[in-house]
């Protein structure tokens, strides 16, 4: 086939595709909304906010936005990996709470901080491992298994704290909760590192590839010799590890640990991933896409804050924006 012909073929296919889905035409540039929907919404959101509230684009405000979304961003990476493999993890939020509480209580009882952090990470990892084993061994949907885990972990966290928060995380508040160089919050740098590693994991490791394959077509993956159970166990375990990192980051930022601190984070992480372009059906999406969703949520809530919109109205606005963002990518 001549190169000219294949180019015209590609063009034909492209125009065919853009006819199908909604698209935006800027001059000669045609933007396919089903692929770049979240990017478009994000950029439009930033432009509108910047016009309405010039403060938005100041360095200190941007740093503020980023540090506010850091924990959600890290947790969304855990959710992204699980969603791509065709699963869902509702226990990430309560995992954050319990692991944070474990670190906090140990610190309160005089155990050196680095040991507390290691134990908290181990705790988060084991929770992920248990999720993975239960999901791999059972026919029950991950939704219900991780929902059970969510309730269980919340209960344990309440029990061990006796309902009262731990209000001192020592050096964690100045390291993970502080800034690193040039006044950049450590949490933001950590977010960036986690996103880069997640993106690399998904794109460049056999396990990441297997996650896409299982999420895309589990039967075909099984017939291709992909070890389905083992892959699922690894994926949920990895999600646990990332939730542990999020737990330490959150404890540092708040300089506190509390049993109900993770409530709602699991749903926010799912919303962010889906808005960004990692759909619930599995097999598609990625770390950078999910990060867009996190940024979008962060920008919107920041701009509403700047405009002094009340909390109730903020939730209404957020809900509407989530719905709009998902509508424009209906093909997923």
């Amino acid at each position: 086939m001549s190169s000219e012909k294949s180019v015209s073929n590609q063009l034909a296919n492209k125009s065919q595709r853009s006819q199908k889905g909604p698209h935006l035409t800027v001059g000669r540039l045609r933007i396919d909304a089903t692929t770049y929907g979240s990017t478009v919404v994000l950029i439009v959101g930033i432009i509108i906010t910047a016009i309405l509230q010039p403060v938005f684009l100041t360095v200190s405000n941007i740093a503020n936005v980023l540090s506010q979304i850091a924990v959600l961003g890290i947790l969304t990476m855990a959710q992204t990996i699980v969603l791509i493999s065709g699963g869902i993890d509702l226990s990430v939020g309560s995992n954050v709470a319990l692991s944070g509480v474990v670190a906090g209580l140990l610190f309160m009882h005089g155990v050196p901080l680095w040991i507390d952090c290691m134990v908290a990470l181990l705790c988060a990892t084991v929770i992920g491992l248990i999720n993975g084993v239960l999901i791999a061994q059972n026919r029950a949907h991950p939704f219900i298994i991780t929902l059970g885990m969510l309730t269980l972990l919340e209960g344990i966290a309440e029990l061990v704290t006796g309902g009262s928060p731990v209000n001192d995380m020592g050096a964690l508040a100045t390291t993970l909760g502080g800034t690193i160089f040039f006044g950049i919050p450590t949490a933001v740098v950590l977010l960036f590192v986690v996103v880069v590693l997640t993106a690399f994991f998904l794109a460049r490791t056999p396990l990441g590839r297997a996650a896409y394959a299982i999420g895309g077509n589990e039967e075909a993956s099984y017939l291709s010799g992909i070890p389905i159970k083992r892959t699922k166990i690894y994926i949920y375990t990895l999600a646990g590890v990332i939730a542990g990192i999020a737990a330490l980051t959150l404890s540092g930022i708040l300089n506190a640990a509390e049993a109900n601190i993770g409530t709602g984070l699991e749903l926010q992480s799912i919303a962010a991933a889906v808005i960004g372009g990692t759909p619930l059906i599995g097999g598609r999406g990625g770390a950078w896409r999910s990060l867009q969703g996190v940024l979008l949520l962060g920008v919107i809530s920041n701009s509403l804050n700047l405009m002094s919109v009340g909390a109730n109205y903020q939730n209404i606005a957020l809900g509407i924006i989530v719905l709009i963002a998902v509508m424009v990518q209906k093909n997923r």
């Binding site: 294949s6 073929n9 590609q10 296919n13 794109a203 460049r204 490791t205 056999p206 590839r209 297997a210 896409y212 394959a213 895309g216 077509n217 039967e219 075909a220 993956s221 099984y222 017939l223 291709s224 010799g225 992909i226 070890p227 097999g283 598609r284």
Partner: protein, 527 residues
């Protein structure tokens, strides 16, 4: 005819109902599925529809039941031409299809299933349960079906589920019931029950369009037989004017294409070729199956596949051909018997195990079970052996795309590049992607299920060529297919299965389409 008064609304059936199919044509990409097919079904009659796989039977059923519109021609039912083609329209006008796979809700009760969606209500919104059960009971009594109305459908046998599906059709006042291979899952006594039921329906003016491979059943039941071949109507005749072997001949056509090699070797040379291969085979047996019994039908199977041979396996639905593939790929465990692969005992416990030992299966429906549609060609190919492109735990994407490019050009996969999503490829190209996977897996034994189903003529020829070339490099290929003509074109030997047993093993070069068809159907050949 004296209609029975408690047969619900059947008493309305005094006018003979009639289905007329007029010059219906339907084209799919690369295939002309139906060409100007016409037929008439008289009321109160059993009309059989026969033809080999791909003759157009299922397309015709889809059009009659409104699932697909015809490209041209029309369906006239009860003197009214179809105004639209939708299942709801066809069903509302009295056409019901009872499929091989039942369309019942497993967790609902028998009565609820029969009346589902059209239940009697009390004050418009509440379902009248007692009335639901009363109507269902009356209907089943009339059909002389003995089933507990409160039982969940999931607990019923396939035979009972079929009866419930028929009852459901009747409740919707079906005038024409289409039965697609209704005896596939039934035992002998259940078949008798079904036949009684069908005769009973007919005595009440209901017509049955009966689709089956079992000619013996058709000759017992049907008043008339319509034969399709290659999407064309061959003939419609009264059963009394036909014999089973005449039907087979008409299904096969008068020009049974024999082996069509690339060079059409003279007969003597073909024989010599076969002999050469069989001599060679004794030294290089790759797969040997001894007295294998597995699954519901396979009994005492003995089979040898030498390196370099393409062996076809054919038989009608339920004959056990698919189960052989399942056993070899670790998806079904043998009950007794022995399998040797390359001289050593072979018993794969799952596909991963089978692939590691050099066996690869290309499933019947690549789009559903074979490919990961949203991944690229390259990603699909390398999925079968990720360690091969992994160095120090990291995927080498450059190596991956080089590997894929090699296969794309080797197998002539029609795609602008190897990063193309597999979802955007044609059926033939998807099939080739799976063949590339088999090569990447370094499989010694390839099992292909219905490899040319739904692919266009060009892709079909290319797949034939590729399979022959693979065999020439020393691989063994087992092709499991219901398309006998297709097998004759590119296999070395054909095994015929009937009711779980091998009834013949013949070289494709001497294979005759009609003879093999007779063997699969269990029909004595008329000389």
């Amino acid at each position: 005819m004296q209609p029975d008064s408690d047969y619900l609304d059947w008493r309305d059936v005094v006018v003979p109902q009639m289905l007329k199919v007029e010059n219906v044509s339907k084209q799919f990409p690369g295939v002309q599925a139906l060409r100007a097919v016409s037929l008439e079904v008289k009321s109160g009659r059993v009309h059989a529809l026969v033809g080999e796989n791909g003759a157009g039977k299922s397309t015709l059923v889809k059009i009659i039941s409104g699932a697909q519109p015809p490209d041209s021609g029309r369906i006239i039912f009860n003197d009214v031409a179809f105004e639209e083609y939708s299942p709801a329209y066809a069903s509302a006008h009295g056409i019901s299809v009872v499929y091989q796979r039942q369309q019942l809700v497993p967790m609902l009760s028998v009565a609820e299933n029969i009346l589902l969606g059209e239940q009697p209500t009390r004050s418009r919104f509440l379902i009248d349960r007692s009335e639901t059960y009363r109507i269902a009971e009356k209907l089943l009594n009339r059909l002389r079906v003995e089933v507990d109305l409160r039982k969940r459908v999931a607990e019923l046998t396939p035979a009972q589920q079929q009866e419930i599906a028929i009852a459901k059709a009747l409740y919707r006042q079906a005038k024409l019931i289409i039965l697609d291979e209704p005896t596939a899952a039934l035992g002998p006594s259940q078949i008798e029950r079904l036949f009684e039921l069908i005769r009973d329906l007919c005595s009440h003016g209901i017509s049955v369009l009966y689709i089956s491979h079992h000619l013996e059943e058709i000759f017992r039941l049907a008043d008339r037989i319509t034969i399709l071949r290659d999407g064309r109507l061959v003939t419609t005749q009264a059963t009394t004017d036909l014999t089973q072997s005449a039907v087979v001949n008409l299904m096969a056509g008068h020009d049974p294409r024999r082996v069509v090699g690339p060079s059409m070797l003279p007969a003597g040379m073909v024989d010599a070729d076969v002999r050469m291969k069989s001599i060679a085979s004794q030294e290089s047996t790759l797969l040997e199956i001894r007295r294998l019994t597995a699954g519901p039908v396979l009994r005492n199977i003995n089979l040898i596949v030498p390196k370099g041979q393409v062996v076809g396996v054919t038989g009608i639905l339920g004959s056990g051909t698919h189960d052989i593939a399942l056993v070899l790929f670790g998806l079904m465990q043998p009950v007794t018997g022995e399998i040797l692969l390359g001289g050593t005992p072979y018993n794969a416990h799952d596909p991963r195990d089978a692939i590691a030992r050099g066996v690869f299966l290309v499933p019947e429906n690549p789009a559903r079970d074979g490919v990961v549609a949203q991944m690229s060609i390259a990603q699909n190919i390398t999925l079968v052996d990720l360690p091969a492109i992994t160095r120090f735990g990291i995927l080498r994407l450059k190596e991956e795309s080089e590997t894929a490019r090699k296969y794309v050009s080797m197998l002539r996969i029609a795609a602008p590049s190897a990063v193309r999503e597999v979802a955007k490829l044609s059926g033939g190209s998807q099939q080739k992607v799976l063949l590339a996977k088999a090569l990447q897996a370094k499989a010694q034994l390839l099992i292909l299920e219905e490899p040319t189903q739904g692919v266009d003529v060009n892709a079909r020829e290319e797949i034939h060529r590729i399979v022959k070339e693979l065999a020439a490099t020393g691989k063994a290929v087992l092709v499991i297919s219901t398309d006998i003509r297709d097998l004759l074109l590119f296999t070395d030997r054909i095994l015929v299965l009937r009711e779980g047993q091998i009834v013949d093993d013949l070289p494709a070069s001497v294979g005759d389409y009609t003879r093999i068809l007779n063997l699969t159907l269990g029909v004595e050949e008329a000389e």
